[in-house]
Protein backbone atom coordinates (compact mmCIF):
# COMPACT_ATOMS: atom_id res chain seq x y z
CA UNK A 1 0.00 0.00 0.00
CA UNK A 2 1.24 3.46 -0.79
CA UNK A 3 -0.53 6.75 -0.35
CA UNK A 4 0.82 9.46 -2.61
CA UNK A 5 -0.02 13.15 -2.29
CA UNK A 6 1.46 15.47 -4.91
CA UNK A 7 1.28 19.31 -4.85
CA UNK A 8 -2.13 19.20 -3.22
CA UNK A 9 -3.95 22.52 -2.75
CA UNK A 10 -7.34 23.12 -1.20
CA UNK A 11 -9.37 26.34 -1.30
CA UNK A 12 -12.72 26.88 0.33
CA UNK A 13 -14.97 29.26 -1.62
CA UNK A 14 -16.40 32.19 0.33
CA UNK A 15 -19.36 33.88 -1.36
CA UNK A 16 -18.45 37.39 -2.50
CA UNK A 17 -14.84 37.13 -1.32
CA UNK A 18 -11.51 35.60 -2.19
CA UNK A 19 -11.53 31.87 -1.44
CA UNK A 20 -9.81 30.79 1.77
CA UNK A 21 -6.66 28.82 1.10
CA UNK A 22 -6.62 25.91 3.52
CA UNK A 23 -3.77 23.81 2.14
CA UNK A 24 -1.00 24.75 -0.22
CA UNK A 25 1.35 22.50 -2.18
CA UNK A 26 1.30 19.49 0.12
CA UNK A 27 3.53 16.65 -1.07
CA UNK A 28 3.71 13.58 1.09
CA UNK A 29 3.83 9.87 0.76
CA UNK A 30 2.91 7.32 3.37
CA UNK A 31 3.83 3.65 3.17
CA UNK A 32 2.69 0.36 4.60
CA UNK A 33 2.43 -0.02 8.39
CA UNK A 34 3.70 3.47 8.97
CA UNK A 35 2.56 5.60 11.89
CA UNK A 36 2.56 9.21 10.73
CA UNK A 37 1.50 12.13 12.88
CA UNK A 38 0.36 15.37 11.28
CA UNK A 39 1.18 18.16 13.67
CA UNK A 40 0.16 21.77 13.42
CA UNK A 41 -1.57 24.67 15.13
CA UNK A 42 -5.37 24.99 15.14
CA UNK A 43 -6.75 26.08 11.79
CA UNK A 44 -3.69 24.95 9.81
CA UNK A 45 -5.78 22.62 7.68
CA UNK A 46 -4.60 19.33 9.19
CA UNK A 47 -8.16 18.10 9.59
CA UNK A 48 -8.90 19.19 6.03
CA UNK A 49 -5.93 17.15 4.83
CA UNK A 50 -7.25 14.11 6.67
CA UNK A 51 -10.74 14.63 5.27
CA UNK A 52 -9.30 14.82 1.75
CA UNK A 53 -7.46 11.54 2.31
CA UNK A 54 -10.72 10.03 3.59
CA UNK A 55 -12.48 11.15 0.40
CA UNK A 56 -14.84 13.44 2.32
CA UNK A 57 -13.48 16.61 0.66
CA UNK A 58 -12.37 17.22 -2.90
CA UNK A 59 -9.01 18.70 -3.89
CA UNK A 60 -8.69 22.07 -5.62
CA UNK A 61 -5.50 21.12 -7.43
CA UNK A 62 -2.76 18.50 -7.23
CA UNK A 63 -3.28 14.79 -6.89
CA UNK A 64 -3.92 12.19 -4.23
CA UNK A 65 -3.67 8.48 -4.97
CA UNK A 66 -3.77 5.22 -3.09
CA UNK A 67 -1.96 2.42 -4.91
CA UNK A 68 -2.10 4.53 -8.07
CA UNK A 69 -5.83 5.05 -7.81
CA UNK A 70 -7.12 8.63 -7.43
CA UNK A 71 -9.15 9.24 -4.26
CA UNK A 72 -12.30 11.22 -5.02
CA UNK A 73 -14.83 9.64 -2.67
CA UNK A 74 -14.76 7.56 0.53
CA UNK A 75 -13.00 4.26 0.07
CA UNK A 76 -13.21 1.36 2.53
CA UNK A 77 -9.41 1.05 2.35
CA UNK A 78 -9.35 4.05 4.65
CA UNK A 79 -11.49 4.65 7.69
CA UNK A 80 -11.71 7.86 9.65
CA UNK A 81 -11.98 8.06 13.43
CA UNK A 82 -13.47 11.34 14.59
CA UNK A 83 -12.83 13.28 17.75
CA UNK A 84 -16.26 12.60 19.24
CA UNK A 85 -19.97 11.95 18.69
CA UNK A 86 -19.31 9.26 16.13
CA UNK A 87 -21.10 6.30 17.73
CA UNK A 88 -24.74 5.70 16.88
CA UNK A 89 -26.60 6.25 20.17
CA UNK A 90 -29.51 4.01 19.15
CA UNK A 91 -27.24 1.01 18.58
CA UNK A 92 -25.65 -1.15 21.23
CA UNK A 93 -21.86 -1.21 21.43
CA UNK A 94 -21.84 -4.54 19.59
CA UNK A 95 -24.15 -3.24 16.86
CA UNK A 96 -21.98 -0.14 16.50
CA UNK A 97 -18.92 -2.30 15.87
CA UNK A 98 -20.92 -4.44 13.44
CA UNK A 99 -22.17 -1.37 11.53
CA UNK A 100 -19.45 -1.28 8.89
CA UNK A 101 -19.71 -5.03 8.34
CA UNK A 102 -23.45 -4.72 7.69
CA UNK A 103 -22.68 -2.16 5.01
CA UNK A 104 -20.31 -4.57 3.30
CA UNK A 105 -23.09 -7.16 3.09
CA UNK A 106 -21.01 -9.40 5.26
CA UNK A 107 -22.82 -12.66 6.04
CA UNK A 108 -24.44 -12.06 9.42
CA UNK A 109 -22.84 -14.99 11.21
CA UNK A 110 -19.30 -13.98 10.33
CA UNK A 111 -20.10 -10.32 10.95
CA UNK A 112 -20.99 -11.25 14.51
CA UNK A 113 -17.75 -13.12 15.01
CA UNK A 114 -15.63 -10.38 13.50
CA UNK A 115 -17.37 -7.70 15.58
CA UNK A 116 -16.84 -9.72 18.76
CA UNK A 117 -13.18 -10.24 17.87
CA UNK A 118 -12.52 -6.51 17.53
CA UNK A 119 -14.55 -5.68 20.60
CA UNK A 120 -12.25 -8.11 22.41
CA UNK A 121 -9.19 -6.42 20.91
CA UNK A 122 -10.17 -3.14 22.56
CA UNK A 123 -11.09 -4.94 25.79
CA UNK A 124 -14.80 -4.17 25.79
CA UNK A 125 -16.35 -7.66 25.41
CA UNK A 126 -18.37 -7.16 28.55
CA UNK A 127 -19.96 -4.01 27.22
CA UNK A 128 -21.33 -5.57 24.01
CA UNK A 129 -24.98 -5.08 24.91
CA UNK A 130 -24.60 -1.66 26.50
CA UNK A 131 -25.47 1.62 24.81
CA UNK A 132 -23.00 4.42 24.08
CA UNK A 133 -24.51 6.69 26.75
CA UNK A 134 -23.48 4.14 29.36
CA UNK A 135 -19.79 4.42 28.42
CA UNK A 136 -17.10 6.95 29.28
CA UNK A 137 -15.45 9.05 26.59
CA UNK A 138 -12.37 6.81 26.53
CA UNK A 139 -14.46 3.66 26.11
CA UNK A 140 -16.43 5.26 23.30
CA UNK A 141 -13.23 6.00 21.41
CA UNK A 142 -12.15 2.38 21.88
CA UNK A 143 -15.47 1.34 20.31
CA UNK A 144 -14.87 3.74 17.41
CA UNK A 145 -11.45 2.15 16.87
CA UNK A 146 -12.94 -1.36 16.98
CA UNK A 147 -15.64 -0.37 14.48
CA UNK A 148 -13.05 1.10 12.13
CA UNK A 149 -10.74 -1.93 12.37
CA UNK A 150 -13.59 -4.41 11.88
CA UNK A 151 -13.90 -3.65 8.17
CA UNK A 152 -10.15 -4.26 7.85
CA UNK A 153 -9.04 -1.04 6.22
CA UNK A 154 -5.45 -0.44 5.22
CA UNK A 155 -5.24 3.03 6.72
CA UNK A 156 -6.72 4.42 9.92
CA UNK A 157 -7.23 8.17 9.72
CA UNK A 158 -7.48 9.62 13.19
CA UNK A 159 -8.58 13.21 13.72
CA UNK A 160 -7.48 14.22 17.23
CA UNK A 161 -9.24 11.11 18.49
CA UNK A 162 -8.14 11.62 22.08
CA UNK A 163 -8.48 15.41 22.10
CA UNK A 164 -11.67 15.41 24.17
CA UNK A 165 -10.34 13.06 26.85
CA UNK A 166 -8.66 13.84 30.16
CA UNK A 167 -4.86 13.55 30.26
CA UNK A 168 -4.75 10.23 32.09
CA UNK A 169 -7.23 8.50 29.78
CA UNK A 170 -5.46 10.02 26.79
CA UNK A 171 -2.09 8.51 27.82
CA UNK A 172 -3.72 5.13 28.41
CA UNK A 173 -5.41 5.15 25.01
CA UNK A 174 -2.18 6.16 23.30
CA UNK A 175 -0.49 3.08 24.75
CA UNK A 176 -3.41 0.87 23.75
CA UNK A 177 -3.39 2.30 20.25
CA UNK A 178 0.28 1.43 19.87
CA UNK A 179 -0.40 -2.13 21.04
CA UNK A 180 -3.26 -2.45 18.55
CA UNK A 181 -1.07 -1.00 15.84
CA UNK A 182 1.68 -3.56 16.61
CA UNK A 183 -0.88 -6.37 16.43
CA UNK A 184 -2.80 -5.30 13.34
CA UNK A 185 -0.02 -3.48 11.48
CA UNK A 186 -2.27 -0.92 9.88
CA UNK A 187 -1.00 2.35 8.52
CA UNK A 188 -2.08 5.17 10.82
CA UNK A 189 -2.27 8.86 10.00
CA UNK A 190 -2.86 10.66 13.24
CA UNK A 191 -3.71 14.36 13.39
CA UNK A 192 -2.88 16.20 16.60
CA UNK A 193 -1.78 19.57 17.89
CA UNK A 194 0.10 18.00 20.80
CA UNK A 195 3.87 17.62 20.33
CA UNK A 196 3.98 15.20 23.24
CA UNK A 197 1.34 12.96 21.70
CA UNK A 198 2.96 13.05 18.26
CA UNK A 199 6.43 12.25 19.57
CA UNK A 200 5.08 9.46 21.76
CA UNK A 201 3.22 7.76 18.93
CA UNK A 202 4.68 8.35 15.52
CA UNK A 203 7.43 7.01 13.25
CA UNK A 204 7.37 10.26 11.40
CA UNK A 205 6.04 13.75 12.11
CA UNK A 206 4.68 15.92 9.36
CA UNK A 207 4.69 19.49 10.64
CA UNK A 208 2.31 21.90 8.93
CA UNK A 209 2.53 25.70 8.94
CA UNK A 210 -0.37 27.97 9.94
CA UNK A 211 -2.96 28.64 7.24
CA UNK A 212 -2.53 27.93 4.45
CA UNK A 213 -1.03 24.66 5.61
CA UNK A 214 2.23 23.74 3.93
CA UNK A 215 4.61 20.98 4.90
CA UNK A 216 7.25 22.74 6.96
CA UNK A 217 9.26 19.80 8.26
CA UNK A 218 9.13 16.04 8.11
CA UNK A 219 10.84 14.69 11.21
CA UNK A 220 11.64 10.99 11.55
CA UNK A 221 11.39 9.75 15.13
CA UNK A 222 13.88 6.94 15.47
CA UNK A 223 13.32 6.13 19.07
CA UNK A 224 12.53 2.62 20.24
CA UNK A 225 9.13 1.70 21.55
CA UNK A 226 7.78 1.50 24.16
CA UNK A 227 8.74 5.12 24.64
CA UNK A 228 9.03 6.42 28.17
CA UNK A 229 7.72 9.96 28.19
CA UNK A 230 9.52 10.65 31.47
CA UNK A 231 12.96 9.65 30.14
CA UNK A 232 15.71 12.13 29.32
CA UNK A 233 15.85 11.00 25.68
CA UNK A 234 12.13 11.59 25.26
CA UNK A 235 12.47 15.07 26.76
CA UNK A 236 15.37 15.79 24.41
CA UNK A 237 13.43 14.64 21.39
CA UNK A 238 10.43 16.70 22.38
CA UNK A 239 12.73 19.72 22.84
CA UNK A 240 14.19 19.15 19.38
CA UNK A 241 10.75 18.93 17.79
CA UNK A 242 9.57 22.03 19.62
CA UNK A 243 12.65 23.90 18.37
CA UNK A 244 12.07 22.73 14.82
CA UNK A 245 8.43 23.70 14.73
CA UNK A 246 9.11 27.11 16.24
CA UNK A 247 11.52 28.11 13.48
CA UNK A 248 10.28 31.16 11.58
CA UNK A 249 9.59 29.08 8.45
CA UNK A 250 7.12 26.95 10.42
CA UNK A 251 5.34 29.75 12.24
CA UNK A 252 5.07 32.49 9.64
CA UNK A 253 2.05 32.56 7.43
Amino acid sequence: MILNIQHLCKDFPVPGQEPIQALSDITLSVGDKEFVSVLGPSGCGKTTLLRIIAGLESVTSGSIEIDGETISSPNPKMVMIFQEYSLYPWRTIFDNVKFGLELQNNVMQSAREVAMEYLHLVGLDEFASRFPYELSGGMRQRVAVARALAIEPEILLMDEPFGALDAQTRNLLQKELLEIWEKTKKTIIFVTHSVDEAVFLADRLVVLTPRPGRVCEIIPIDFNRPRDRTSAEFAQLRRKVLDLISQPKCTLQ
Binding site: P74, F99, L103, Q104, P132, Y133, I151
Partner: protein
Protein backbone atom coordinates in the same frame (compact mmCIF):
# COMPACT_ATOMS: atom_id res chain seq x y z
CA UNK B 1 -45.44 5.76 43.02
CA UNK B 2 -47.02 9.16 42.57
CA UNK B 3 -48.45 10.92 45.57
CA UNK B 4 -52.19 10.48 46.27
CA UNK B 5 -52.39 14.24 45.73
CA UNK B 6 -52.88 13.64 41.99
CA UNK B 7 -56.30 12.15 42.75
CA UNK B 8 -57.45 14.93 45.07
CA UNK B 9 -58.66 17.46 42.51
CA UNK B 10 -60.55 14.93 40.34
CA UNK B 11 -62.36 13.63 43.44
CA UNK B 12 -63.20 17.16 44.58
CA UNK B 13 -64.49 18.04 41.11
CA UNK B 14 -66.75 14.99 40.99
CA UNK B 15 -68.13 15.66 44.47
CA UNK B 16 -68.55 19.35 43.60
CA UNK B 17 -70.32 18.42 40.39
CA UNK B 18 -72.79 16.17 42.23
CA UNK B 19 -73.46 18.82 44.87
CA UNK B 20 -73.92 21.51 42.22
CA UNK B 21 -76.31 19.32 40.23
CA UNK B 22 -78.45 18.89 43.34
CA UNK B 23 -78.50 22.65 43.97
CA UNK B 24 -79.13 23.63 40.33
CA UNK B 25 -81.68 20.84 39.96
CA UNK B 26 -81.85 21.18 36.17
CA UNK B 27 -80.53 18.16 34.23
CA UNK B 28 -80.20 20.20 31.03
CA UNK B 29 -77.63 22.51 32.66
CA UNK B 30 -75.91 19.98 34.93
CA UNK B 31 -77.14 16.38 35.05
CA UNK B 32 -76.48 14.25 38.10
CA UNK B 33 -73.66 11.71 38.00
CA UNK B 34 -76.26 9.04 38.54
CA UNK B 35 -77.66 9.73 35.06
CA UNK B 36 -74.22 9.78 33.36
CA UNK B 37 -72.64 6.68 34.90
CA UNK B 38 -75.26 4.19 33.64
CA UNK B 39 -74.55 5.32 30.07
CA UNK B 40 -70.82 4.75 30.58
CA UNK B 41 -71.51 1.34 32.10
CA UNK B 42 -73.34 0.19 28.96
CA UNK B 43 -70.94 1.13 26.18
CA UNK B 44 -72.30 -1.45 23.74
CA UNK B 45 -75.98 -0.75 24.27
CA UNK B 46 -78.04 1.46 21.97
CA UNK B 47 -80.74 1.86 24.61
CA UNK B 48 -78.82 4.65 26.28
CA UNK B 49 -78.01 6.57 23.11
CA UNK B 50 -81.48 7.55 21.95
CA UNK B 51 -81.40 5.46 18.80
CA UNK B 52 -77.93 6.54 17.73
CA UNK B 53 -75.23 3.82 17.58
CA UNK B 54 -73.83 2.71 20.95
CA UNK B 55 -70.97 4.57 22.62
CA UNK B 56 -68.46 2.04 21.32
CA UNK B 57 -70.09 1.98 17.89
CA UNK B 58 -69.60 5.74 17.68
CA UNK B 59 -66.08 5.45 19.06
CA UNK B 60 -65.24 2.86 16.39
CA UNK B 61 -66.58 5.15 13.65
CA UNK B 62 -64.49 8.07 14.94
CA UNK B 63 -61.38 5.91 15.33
CA UNK B 64 -61.68 4.56 11.79
CA UNK B 65 -61.88 8.09 10.38
CA UNK B 66 -59.09 9.47 12.51
CA UNK B 67 -56.82 6.51 11.79
CA UNK B 68 -57.41 6.76 8.04
CA UNK B 69 -56.59 10.46 7.93
CA UNK B 70 -53.66 10.07 10.31
CA UNK B 71 -52.06 7.17 8.43
CA UNK B 72 -52.47 8.99 5.13
CA UNK B 73 -50.84 12.10 6.63
CA UNK B 74 -47.92 10.03 7.99
CA UNK B 75 -47.40 8.22 4.68
CA UNK B 76 -47.07 11.53 2.85
CA UNK B 77 -45.49 13.75 5.52
CA UNK B 78 -42.64 11.46 6.64
CA UNK B 79 -41.04 10.86 3.21
CA UNK B 80 -41.63 14.51 2.29
CA UNK B 81 -40.05 15.67 5.55
CA UNK B 82 -37.03 13.44 5.02
CA UNK B 83 -36.65 14.79 1.50
CA UNK B 84 -36.91 18.38 2.74
CA UNK B 85 -34.50 17.73 5.60
CA UNK B 86 -31.94 16.17 3.27
CA UNK B 87 -32.26 18.39 0.22
CA UNK B 88 -31.88 22.18 0.56
CA UNK B 89 -33.30 22.44 -2.96
CA UNK B 90 -36.54 20.66 -2.06
CA UNK B 91 -36.70 22.62 1.19
CA UNK B 92 -36.39 25.99 -0.58
CA UNK B 93 -38.92 24.89 -3.16
CA UNK B 94 -41.62 23.84 -0.67
CA UNK B 95 -40.96 25.79 2.50
CA UNK B 96 -42.76 29.05 1.66
CA UNK B 97 -45.90 27.23 0.52
CA UNK B 98 -45.97 25.12 3.65
CA UNK B 99 -45.48 28.15 5.88
CA UNK B 100 -48.43 29.77 4.10
CA UNK B 101 -50.79 26.79 4.44
CA UNK B 102 -49.81 25.77 7.95
CA UNK B 103 -51.54 28.57 9.92
CA UNK B 104 -54.91 27.81 8.30
CA UNK B 105 -56.90 25.89 10.94
CA UNK B 106 -57.96 22.43 9.75
CA UNK B 107 -61.62 23.35 10.27
CA UNK B 108 -61.26 26.29 7.87
CA UNK B 109 -60.87 23.63 5.16
CA UNK B 110 -64.36 22.26 5.83
CA UNK B 111 -66.25 24.21 3.14
CA UNK B 112 -63.59 23.41 0.56
CA UNK B 113 -63.60 19.75 1.62
CA UNK B 114 -67.37 19.65 1.11
CA UNK B 115 -67.05 21.28 -2.30
CA UNK B 116 -64.37 18.83 -3.40
CA UNK B 117 -65.38 15.56 -1.77
CA UNK B 118 -69.09 16.05 -0.95
CA UNK B 119 -70.52 15.07 2.42
CA UNK B 120 -69.15 11.84 3.87
CA UNK B 121 -66.12 9.80 4.87
CA UNK B 122 -63.65 11.36 2.42
CA UNK B 123 -64.34 14.92 3.58
CA UNK B 124 -63.80 14.02 7.21
CA UNK B 125 -60.63 12.09 6.45
CA UNK B 126 -59.38 15.09 4.50
CA UNK B 127 -59.91 17.43 7.47
CA UNK B 128 -58.08 15.00 9.77
CA UNK B 129 -55.32 14.65 7.21
CA UNK B 130 -54.79 18.43 7.23
CA UNK B 131 -54.74 18.46 11.04
CA UNK B 132 -52.17 15.67 11.37
CA UNK B 133 -50.03 16.51 8.34
CA UNK B 134 -48.18 19.65 9.49
CA UNK B 135 -46.97 18.50 12.91
CA UNK B 136 -45.70 15.26 11.39
CA UNK B 137 -44.00 17.08 8.51
CA UNK B 138 -42.34 19.77 10.64
CA UNK B 139 -41.10 17.28 13.23
CA UNK B 140 -39.71 15.01 10.52
CA UNK B 141 -37.78 17.93 9.02
CA UNK B 142 -36.44 18.84 12.48
CA UNK B 143 -35.57 15.22 13.16
CA UNK B 144 -33.56 14.91 9.96
CA UNK B 145 -31.81 18.21 10.64
CA UNK B 146 -30.86 16.99 14.13
CA UNK B 147 -28.77 14.20 12.58
CA UNK B 148 -25.11 14.84 13.41
CA UNK B 149 -22.91 15.34 10.37
CA UNK B 150 -20.37 12.97 11.90
CA UNK B 151 -22.93 10.12 11.90
CA UNK B 152 -23.34 10.48 8.15
CA UNK B 153 -19.61 10.83 7.50
CA UNK B 154 -18.78 7.76 9.60
CA UNK B 155 -21.21 5.77 7.47
CA UNK B 156 -19.69 7.19 4.28
CA UNK B 157 -16.14 6.30 5.26
CA UNK B 158 -17.29 2.79 6.22
CA UNK B 159 -18.64 2.33 2.70
CA UNK B 160 -22.33 3.27 3.00
CA UNK B 161 -24.34 3.95 -0.13
CA UNK B 162 -27.09 6.58 -0.19
CA UNK B 163 -29.82 4.04 0.67
CA UNK B 164 -27.75 2.74 3.62
CA UNK B 165 -27.37 6.26 4.95
CA UNK B 166 -31.11 6.74 4.69
CA UNK B 167 -32.16 3.47 6.30
CA UNK B 168 -29.36 3.03 8.85
CA UNK B 169 -28.55 6.61 9.87
CA UNK B 170 -31.21 9.15 8.89
CA UNK B 171 -34.29 7.11 9.77
CA UNK B 172 -33.18 5.65 13.11
CA UNK B 173 -31.48 8.92 14.08
CA UNK B 174 -34.54 11.05 13.43
CA UNK B 175 -37.10 8.48 14.59
CA UNK B 176 -37.56 9.90 18.12
CA UNK B 177 -38.48 13.35 16.79
CA UNK B 178 -40.68 11.87 14.04
CA UNK B 179 -42.43 9.88 16.78
CA UNK B 180 -43.09 13.12 18.69
CA UNK B 181 -44.58 14.51 15.48
CA UNK B 182 -46.85 11.48 15.17
CA UNK B 183 -47.97 11.90 18.76
CA UNK B 184 -48.77 15.59 18.35
CA UNK B 185 -50.35 14.90 14.95
CA UNK B 186 -52.63 12.23 16.39
CA UNK B 187 -53.70 14.57 19.18
CA UNK B 188 -54.72 17.24 16.68
CA UNK B 189 -56.38 14.66 14.44
CA UNK B 190 -58.48 13.47 17.37
CA UNK B 191 -59.61 17.04 18.05
CA UNK B 192 -60.45 17.54 14.38
CA UNK B 193 -62.55 14.40 14.08
CA UNK B 194 -65.02 15.53 16.73
CA UNK B 195 -65.67 18.83 14.98
CA UNK B 196 -65.66 17.25 11.52
CA UNK B 197 -68.43 14.91 12.62
CA UNK B 198 -70.73 17.89 13.05
CA UNK B 199 -70.95 18.18 9.28
CA UNK B 200 -74.42 17.59 7.88
CA UNK B 201 -75.23 14.09 6.72
CA UNK B 202 -73.10 12.25 9.26
CA UNK B 203 -74.85 9.54 11.30
CA UNK B 204 -72.15 8.07 13.54
CA UNK B 205 -69.12 9.13 15.53
CA UNK B 206 -68.54 10.59 18.98
CA UNK B 207 -68.74 14.15 17.65
CA UNK B 208 -72.02 13.28 15.98
CA UNK B 209 -73.29 11.66 19.19
CA UNK B 210 -72.76 14.68 21.45
CA UNK B 211 -74.43 17.06 18.99
CA UNK B 212 -77.29 14.57 18.51
CA UNK B 213 -77.70 14.37 22.30
CA UNK B 214 -77.81 18.16 22.49
CA UNK B 215 -80.66 18.23 19.97
CA UNK B 216 -82.60 15.99 22.35
CA UNK B 217 -81.62 18.08 25.37
CA UNK B 218 -79.83 15.05 26.89
CA UNK B 219 -76.89 16.69 28.63
CA UNK B 220 -76.02 13.46 30.48
CA UNK B 221 -75.35 11.79 27.12
CA UNK B 222 -73.27 14.78 25.98
CA UNK B 223 -71.09 14.42 29.07
CA UNK B 224 -70.81 10.64 28.69
CA UNK B 225 -69.68 11.20 25.08
CA UNK B 226 -67.14 13.79 26.20
CA UNK B 227 -65.76 11.40 28.82
CA UNK B 228 -65.26 8.71 26.15
CA UNK B 229 -63.59 11.23 23.82
CA UNK B 230 -61.23 12.23 26.63
CA UNK B 231 -60.41 8.68 27.69
CA UNK B 232 -59.65 7.50 24.14
CA UNK B 233 -57.43 10.54 23.53
CA UNK B 234 -55.60 9.90 26.78
CA UNK B 235 -55.10 6.17 26.09
CA UNK B 236 -53.67 6.79 22.64
CA UNK B 237 -51.31 9.44 23.98
CA UNK B 238 -50.17 6.93 26.62
CA UNK B 239 -49.46 4.39 23.88
CA UNK B 240 -47.26 6.92 22.08
CA UNK B 241 -45.48 7.79 25.33
CA UNK B 242 -44.89 4.11 26.10
CA UNK B 243 -43.40 3.64 22.62
CA UNK B 244 -41.13 6.62 23.23
CA UNK B 245 -39.86 5.16 26.50
CA UNK B 246 -39.40 1.70 25.02
CA UNK B 247 -37.65 2.58 21.76
CA UNK B 248 -36.22 6.06 22.06
CA UNK B 249 -34.90 6.38 25.59
CA UNK B 250 -31.40 6.71 24.09
CA UNK B 251 -32.21 10.21 22.95
CA UNK B 252 -32.88 11.61 26.41
CA UNK B 253 -29.91 9.76 27.89
CA UNK B 254 -27.40 10.69 25.20
CA UNK B 255 -24.82 13.19 26.36
Amino acid sequence: MRSPLVLLLPVLLIVGWEVASLIIDNPFILPSLTTVIPILLHPFSTEYTLGAPSLMGNAAASLLRVTSGFVLAAIIAIPLGIGMGRSPFLNDFLDSTIELLRPIPPLAWVPLALAWFKIGFVSIVFIIFIGAFFPILLNTIDGVKSIKKTWVEVAETLGAREQDILSKVILPGSAPIIWTGLRVGFGIAWMCVVAAEWLPGISAGLGYLILYAYNFGQTNLIIAGMVVIGIIGLLIDQVFKAGERKWFSWRALER
